[in-house]
């Protein structure tokens, strides 16, 4: 009896948590299908007969900037996660396995870069980027995103690499593999789940980033979050279109998570358990 009661309580808790998490998303999806008049009506008019696709048609118009924002975000997030994974996995492997002089200091300084809030480095970063002529370029934003994605990728993957039994590498060395071959034929294939997991994480981080994007872009490289924010004007806010854009912008991330969900779960579990 007691057991059942606690089960029920846990389930109530979980269900309310799911509602809490899904609520805003549900709200965004519903309102994205409503005309502005319904949204500004008091009380809000949720009449399903008024559901319309106008918001979506409007925001997909190329002149509205969302499409180019999505493309920019896609380019930047893809490249950022690709570079973060390539460089990050090699660095993490080296830090986990090779006896590098000062590897602890390197690890700590990598972590230290994460201790400053973005706002602290915003102005110096802006100056550096503008001197380098990298304001409003894909490359510029990519570098900035890498600077905060890469350290986390390195730390996550280092933990995973350390959990791989060292005997595997010894066995490969005995079989005649060089360090590079061991990494390529043994470590990399068994690291695919955590690599996918961290890759998706890096992608989402860069995809959602707003603060540096608004500082470091002007016209050409506006990312999706910036394009969405621009539906809020000085005189009026186009709620329907804004939320339609938000829904569209969430789709790639949701799709990514669905495709790789098995890997993401495995990845995080494997990193946690040492065998």
């Amino acid at each position: 009896m007691n057991k059942n009661l606690s089960k029920v309580i846990i389930q109530i808790f979980l269900i309310s948590f799911v509602f809490l998490a899904l609520g805003p998303i549900l709200w965004a999806v519903v309102t994205s299908f409503l005309p502005l008049s319904s949204l500004t009506a008091k009380p809000i008019d949720l009449d399903p007969t008024k559901f319309t696709l106008t918001n979506y048609v409007e925001v997909l118009d190329t002149s509205r900037g969302l499409m180019s924002g999505l493309i920019n975000s896609m380019i930047i997030a893809t490249f950022t996660s690709a570079v973060a994974l390539t460089v990050g996995s090699a660095a993490a492997y080296a830090l986990a396995r090779l006896s590098l002089p000062g590897s602890n200091a390197i690890l700590l300084s990598i972590l230290a870069t994460q201790m400053f809030p973005g706002i602290v480095i915003a102005i110096p970063l802006f100056i550096v980027m503008s001197r380098l002529g990298m304001i409003d370029t894909h490359l510029g934003l990519m570098f900035v995103y890498l600077s905060f994605v890469l350290p986390i990728v390195i730390w996550i993957l280092k933990g995973f690499f350390e959990s791989i039994p060292i005997q595997l590498e010894k066995a490969a060395a005995i079989d005649g593999a060089t360090n590079t071959q061991t990494f390529r034929y043994i470590i990399l294939p068994i690291s695919l789940p955590p690599l996918f997991a961290t890759g998706v994480f890096a992608f989402i981080e860069s995809w959602n980033e707003f603060f540096f994007a608004i500082i470091l872009t002007r016209i050409n490289v506006k990312t999706a979050p910036i394009a969405i924010s621009e539906f809020a004007g000085q005189y009026r806010t186009l709620y329907g279109q804004m939320l339609a854009s938000a829904v569209l912008a969430s789709l790639p991330v949701v799709i990514l998570a669905i495709i790789f969900r098995r890997f993401i779960l495995e990845g995080f579990v494997e990193g946690a358990v040492k065998s």
Partner: protein, 355 residues
């Protein structure tokens, strides 16, 4: 096949010395065991020989080549690890053939060799399985197959059976011994299990604190241990060691333990100070003659029964043939078979030969 020679080999990790001044010669085709408790440096020594750890001092020779600076692969040896270390994402066939794939051998050749090796190890039906789909014994055989396919000059085994259950362990022991008889490859086997060492080896190196305490045949380390340490480590149950004094009455020598004394064989030369006496269970006799004792524990193990008794000198474990009818608290008499007595110097713990 090759000889392996270690000359004054030491391995240090910072301040910690794992192996010191090891001299060891393993003859061509010989099967030797590094035996010792955990932390005695035996696995480190194996890693040093394999080239997985750099040697801090000394020379390692394989056949007539000094291999200190050669990579593990170039030393032409193969190793079987304690936890098998099979590549988890590769099938059995891929695991066994990995070293050939690295050398870019043609696929047909790899497949042929893998099949040959799989046949000798009865793995032919498992070639397409992944390691996680195999039992412990099968995994161990794959690990052995991965070593065999290399046709190495030397096999290294790092406690390969310690993750297996008792029955499987005995079976794998037989398989390794058969494999060695068939291939005749020089082998170095690391274990902490003295029974494994005794049953497999041509010679055993008993290690303690990073040093080799004795290197000899199983008979030598068992019957003529050089020190108390080796005597205690080899043999199960452990031999009993008693502290007593020699004394002579009417030209007959006795070894006195407490108030009881045991007649000794004819001795002409005695050390200045009386040594300790070590007696293995098979040399402790229980019967109607000797000093009074009381049965404490009876452990039947099939062909023998180990009977532990308490007497004035402490406790002693005797090996009795077959089933013993003794029960705890039974009264018996204890004596020693003087042909198998071992004496150890009280200061140095080294065995002394009395004549």
């Amino acid at each position: 096949m090759a000889t392996l020679k270690l000359v004054n080999v030491s391995k240090r990790f910072g301040e910690v010395t794992a192996c010191s001044n090891i001299d060891l010669v393993v003859n061509e085709g010989e099967f030797i065991t590094l035996l010792g408790p955990s932390g005695c440096g035996k696995t480190t020594l194996l890693n040093v020989v394999a080239g997985l750890e750099e040697v801090s001092e000394g020379e390692i020779w394989i056949q007539d080549r000094m291999v200190n600076d050669l990579s593990p692969y170039d030393r032409n040896l193969a190793m079987v690890f304690q936890n098998y270390a099979l590549y988890p994402h590769m099938t059995v066939a891929e695991n066994i053939g990995f070293s050939m794939r690295l050398r870019k051998r043609p696929k047909a050749e790899i497949a042929e060799r893998v099949n040959q090796v799989a046949n000798t190890l009865e793995l032919e039906k498992l070639l397409d399985r992944l390691p996680r789909e195999l039992s412990g014994g099968q995994q161990q055989r794959v690990a052995i197959g991965r070593a065999v396919i290399r046709e190495p000059a030397i096999f290294l085994f790092d406690e390969p059976f310690s993750n297996l259950d008792a029955a499987l362990r005995v079976r794998m022991r037989v398989e390794i011994k058969e494999l060695h008889q068939r291939l005749g490859t020089t082998s170095v086997f690391v274990t902490h299990d003295q029974e494994e060492a005794l049953s497999l080896s041509d010679r055993i190196a008993v290690m303690q604190f990073g040093r080799i305490k004795q290197f000899g045949t199983p008979e030598q380390v068992y019957s003529l241990p050089t020190s108390k340490y080796v005597a205690r480590f080899i043999g199960s149950p452990q031999l009993d060691i008693f502290e007593g004094e020699f004394e002579s009455t009417d030209g007959q020598w006795y070894y006195r333990i407490g108030n009881e004394r045991f007649q000794m064989p004819d001795l002409t030369q005695l050390p200045d100070e009386s040594p300790d006496l070590g007696v293995r269970p098979e040399h402790i006799l229980l019967g109607s003659e000797g000093v009074p004792a009381s049965v404490h524990l009876v452990q039947p193990i099939g062909p023998f029964t180990y009977v532990t008794v308490n007497w004035e000198g402490g406790s002693a474990t005797a090996r009795v043939s077959g089933v013993s009818h003794l029960r705890p608290r039974d009264k018996v008499n204890l004596s020693f078979d003087t042909s198998g007595l071992l004496f150890f110097d009280r200061q140095s713990s080294m065995r002394v030969e009395l004549s």
